[in-house]
């Protein structure tokens, strides 16, 4: 059962487009103020090319997302803008948000980003997300879109070509070499939602309003819906839309593995992987450390059951998967004390629908990679109905929280902001815990912004904003 019209929601909400293996992100700025009319015409012409949830066959997929500055430049009134989420309006670049996201040290500061938000040259108003079945097709599509945008007066701020996805799910790894994007929430109408086992439903099923605006959310309330045209004159702009978070995260792969070799005090690949897996919470093949404490299990990541593990049942005290491991922080499941159903319900008010892809040259065996001068990493991408309660909460209240799960003065070993000399990481064990020192972050933020992903009706309204 699909409670929302599939022809209205942009395709990215319902699919990661895995078979559209070639992808690129184009980031544009609008020229103000004379450019608005041409840009609005361009958006009107773009709508028929945009992929919505009812379209499954085409060889190309195109999605479009817009920032608060983009809406403003196109003519949204102050009153209309006030109906959007405060985080979206403020932008990812503000000092306060840098502080909670952990972007406030010298290496990660938004002022040094390749693309972002704010007043500078690198400000992004609009993003086109392109996916294609073939490499030549993607190149053609990107060229076409760049030319059309240029004719409409848009300036290309940054272009990211994403790594071609491998043929099978089992080969998909983020640059450090770990299977990624395994744990996803399900809501009604999304593929697989009606095939969930009872346990998977409990762990991963959430209300539609957590991702698609205008429907009931985890609190049983219909979400607010931002508008562009006065609310009584039309359906609200935001109905069937969602907020999109993009962050370009550069990863130092050689540095990461070198670090864990040193931390392990060993060159034995299994010992090194075991320690890195203790930090990530999964083995490289995706098997959860909570269920496979000593060695990776079989390569079965396709199997949904692999993702239905319970911290409470397998590993209540973190003696297999440490309490502060990345995946335990990013989605604690039933790890916290209390009635299990109540805890799962609370945790699931903070789920993210992830759509990230790696960028930069691919590495075959990350653990043995010796380094080169090329930049690579992950374009973290997630959809959510409430940026503050979902994306920012996970990053701030869980990953960057120094006392998460009763820990003391330590943050997420993978993505948490660490002091210059490195930070501690506790590995619970019997009889007593071990504590690593000098844990360093090998992820650096290179760009990022909060976007809105409008519905079909929303895009049409946006194109007509000048006529209102």
């Amino acid at each position: 059962m699909t409670p929302y019209p599939r022809s209205e929601v942009q395709g990215l909400l319902l699919s990661a487009y895995r078979r559209w293996r070639h992808a690129a992100d184009l980031f544009f700025a609008l020229r103000e103020p004379q450019g608005a009319a041409a840009a609005l015409r361009w958006i009107a012409e773009l709508v028929p090319r945009v992929t919505f949830g009812d379209e499954t066959r085409s060889t190309a997929k195109l999605n479009v997302a817009i920032t608060a500055s983009g809406l403003k430049a196109l003519g949204a009134t102050e009153e209309a803008l006030a109906s959007f989420s405060p985080a979206f309006l403020e932008g990812m670049h503000s000092q306060r948000r840098s502080r909670i996201l952990g972007d406030d040290d010298d290496a990660d500061r938004p002022s040094g980003w390749l693309w972002g938000q704010g007043d500078g040259e690198r400000r992004v108003d609009l993003a086109l997300l392109l996916f294609h079945r073939t490499e030549e097709g993607l190149q053609r599509l990107a060229e076409e879109q760049k030319q059309a945008a240029a004719r409409a007066g848009l300036r290309l701020v940054h272009e990211l070509s994403l790594q071609t996805l491998p043929e099978t799910r089992a080969e998909m790894h983020e640059p450090f070499g770990f299977a990624d994007g395994l744990s996803q929430p399900y809501f009604d109408g999304i593929k697989g939602a009606d095939e969930l086992s009872e346990e998977a439903y409990r762990l991963h099923h959430v209300e539609v309003g957590e991702f698609v605006l205008g429907y009931k959310n985890g609190y049983g309330e219909v979400t607010t819906v931002p508008w562009l045209l006065p609310p009584d004159t039309a359906d609200s702009f935001g109905l069937n839309g969602s907020y999109l978070v993009l962050r370009q995260l550069q990863q130092d792969v050689a540095g990461f593995w070198d670090h864990y070799r040193r931390q392990a005090g060993s060159d034995d690949p299994l010992a090194v992987e075991r320690l890195a897996a203790k930090a990530v919470g999964r083995w490289r093949n995706g098997c959860p450390v909570a269920a496979f404490p000593d060695a990776p299990g079989p390569d079965q990541v396709e199997d949904l059951r692999e993702n239905d593990f319970s911290f409470r049942a397998h590993d209540p005290h973190g003696q297999s998967c440490p309490l502060g491991a990345h995946i335990r922080r990013a989605n604690p499941r039933d790890s916290f004390e209390g009635d299990r159903d109540v805890i799962l319900h609370q945790i699931n008010n903070h789920r993210l629908l992830r759509r990230g892809r790696a960028y930069g040259p691919r590495i075959e065996d990350a653990q043995r990679f010796e380094g080169d001068s090329q930049e690579r990493g992950l374009v973290f991408s997630c959809l959510n109905g409430n940026i503050e309660r979902q994306f920012e909460f996970v990053q701030h209240t869980w990953c960057n929280n120094e006392s998460f799960h009763g820990l003391h003065q330590e943050v997420d070993p993978l993505i948490g902001p660490q002091p210059a000399e490195g930070g501690p990481y506790s590995i619970q064990a019997w009889p007593a815990r071990r504590r690593l020192a000098g844990i360093t972050r090998f992820v650096k933020v290179r760009g990022g912004a909060y976007f809105f992903l409008p519905s079909r009706t929303g895009l049409v309204q946006l194109a007509q904003i000048g006529e209102a």
């Binding site: 006030a82 405060p86 309006l89 403020e90 000092q95 306060r96 502080r99 909670i100 959310n217 609190y219 049983g220 309330e221 979400t223 607010t224 005290h317 609370q346 008010n349 409430n386 503050e388 309660r389 920012e392 909460f393 701030h396 209240t397 929280n401 120094e402 006392s403 009763g406 003391h408 003065q409 619970q428 019997w430 009889p431 007593a432 815990r433 071990r434 504590r435 020192a437």
Partner: protein, 421 residues
């Protein structure tokens, strides 16, 4: 055994002159002692070991402006103020602040503060009887034990749990801390009983005093009918985030592991709302004394000290809280754990999401509730925490670590004790 410490709280409400210039001067003076935005304040509240938390908030919107100064201390309020006024540099600084408030008399700081103290109102303390000094010392004990484990990881690796614990005991003895560790303060009586007994006891009391209970229920029924009429006529405006105000308060947030919140709301018109808010606060206060006295308030495990104060001769309800972690988590916990308590208090104030039968609805309307809470917030001007990186959970674990260190423990208890590290 050491006796538990008695804690106190003060809420000084000092009217501020109407002119813009003196308020500007006041804000400037307050910056001098704010350790949040000013990493090297002129004077540090660290000088007062009895102080847990304190804050200054200048309330300017709606009605006559006033400066609120609230704090949570070990011991009594009066000697604390006398001690403050006896220190020459503190006296000078506080006089620079209070000179901008109405009717301040030079040289009479302690008297002025005492005269303007409206008391703790309905006051929540996570752990009664735990002094700021003990909390900090217990955190230091943990750090010493952690350092010992880190430094001796290789030597400890092959040992059994009791052997590791014995090694830790020996280290603590070597550091000369054993006597202090064993001399943990006794907890006050109300914190020692098994709180599961509370339900049956309350039921027995209600049945035993059956005539009074029936009378109360009858009166309650009449009030409920009137309340439902009021609730039906309450209006609900579209959600509106006051972004300037939000940025003003967020600017200070999340600079440590704890945050401060001051919210000012106005009680709705009519005697019934005034009565209900007071009755609800009384019930919350009682529930805290008798039941929610082990580190959680209605299931919210992150509040160190909080208070609700209804300002005298006004309909202003002021709420102060010192809590762990992010505002977003705090408000989420409110909604998920304590919406009944919240609704019964703030449901009687203007702008709160609509309630049904006082306790239903309300905070469950998440977005409207969060906007209400954000919009009601006042910028904190000065905020001090004596242990800004120690959360409620940390603090409780540190106390258990101390308690179990030299106690007789079974094998399971020994494992559990080691997991505190």
């Amino acid at each position: 055994m050491a006796a538990p410490v008695r804690q106190s709280a003060f809420t000084i409400i000092a009217p501020v002159g109407g002119d813009e210039a003196s308020r500007k001067e006041l804000k400037h003076q307050l910056q001098r002692v704010d350790p949040v935005l000013n990493p090297t304040p002129e004077l540090s509240f660290e000088e007062f070991p009895e102080l847990h938390y304190c804050s200054f908030v200048l309330v300017e919107n709606g009605g006559a402006p006033y400066l609120a100064f609230e704090g949570n201390i070990d011991g009594e309020v009066e000697p604390f103020f006398r001690g403050l006024a006896d220190r020459k540099n503190w006296l000078a600084l506080f006089e620079d602040i209070y000179r901008n408030c109405e009717a301040y008399q030079e040289g009479r700081l302690a008297e002025y503060l005492l005269a303007h103290d409206v008391g703790p109102g309905t006051w929540y303390v996570a752990f009664a009887g735990r002094s700021a000094a003990e909390i900090r010392k217990e955190a230091t004990l943990r750090e010493k034990i952690e350092t010992f484990l880190d430094a001796n990881a290789a030597a400890l690796a092959g040992l059994t749990a009791p052997e590791v614990r014995a090694a830790v005991q020996a280290e603590v003895q070597r550091l000369g801390l054993e006597e202090w560790v064993r001399d943990a303060p006794v907890m006050p009586f109300l914190l020692r009983y098994d709180r599961r007994a509370f339900g049956p006891v309350a039921l027995a009391l209600a049945v035993g005093l059956l005539p009074a209970t029936l009378l109360l229920l009858g009166a309650g029924g009449v009030l409920l009918l009137r309340l439902r009429q009021l609730e039906a006529s309450d209006s609900e405006a579209p959600i509106r985030w006051d972004t300037t105000r939000i940025q003003d308060s967020e600017d200070r947030e999340d600079r440590t592991d704890q945050n401060h919140m001051c919210s000012v709301t106005r009680i709705k018109d009519g005697w019934l709302r005034g009565f209900l808010v007071r009755a609800s606060l009384t019930v919350v206060g009682l529930a805290h004394r008798l039941y929610f006295n082990r580190g959680d308030l209605g299931g919210i495990p992150t509040i160190h000290f909080a208070r609700w104060v209804i300002l005298p001769k006004s309909r202003q309800l002021v709420f102060f809280s010192n809590f762990d972690g992010s505002w977003e988590r705090y408000l989420g916990d409110f909604i998920e754990q304590a919406s009944i308590g919240l609704n019964s208090i703030w449901g009687n104030t203007q702008g709160y999401p609509k309630t049904r039968n006082l306790v239903q609805g309300g905070a469950e309307d998440e977005e409207r509730f969060k906007a209400f809470a954000r919009n009601s917030m006042q910028r904190t001007r000065v905020w001090y925490s004596a242990y800004r990186n120690i959360t409620i959970r940390n603090l409780a674990d540190n106390a258990k670590l101390r308690e179990g260190l030299f106690a007789e423990l079974s094998a399971d208890e020994t494992d559990e004790w080691l997991r505190l590290l």
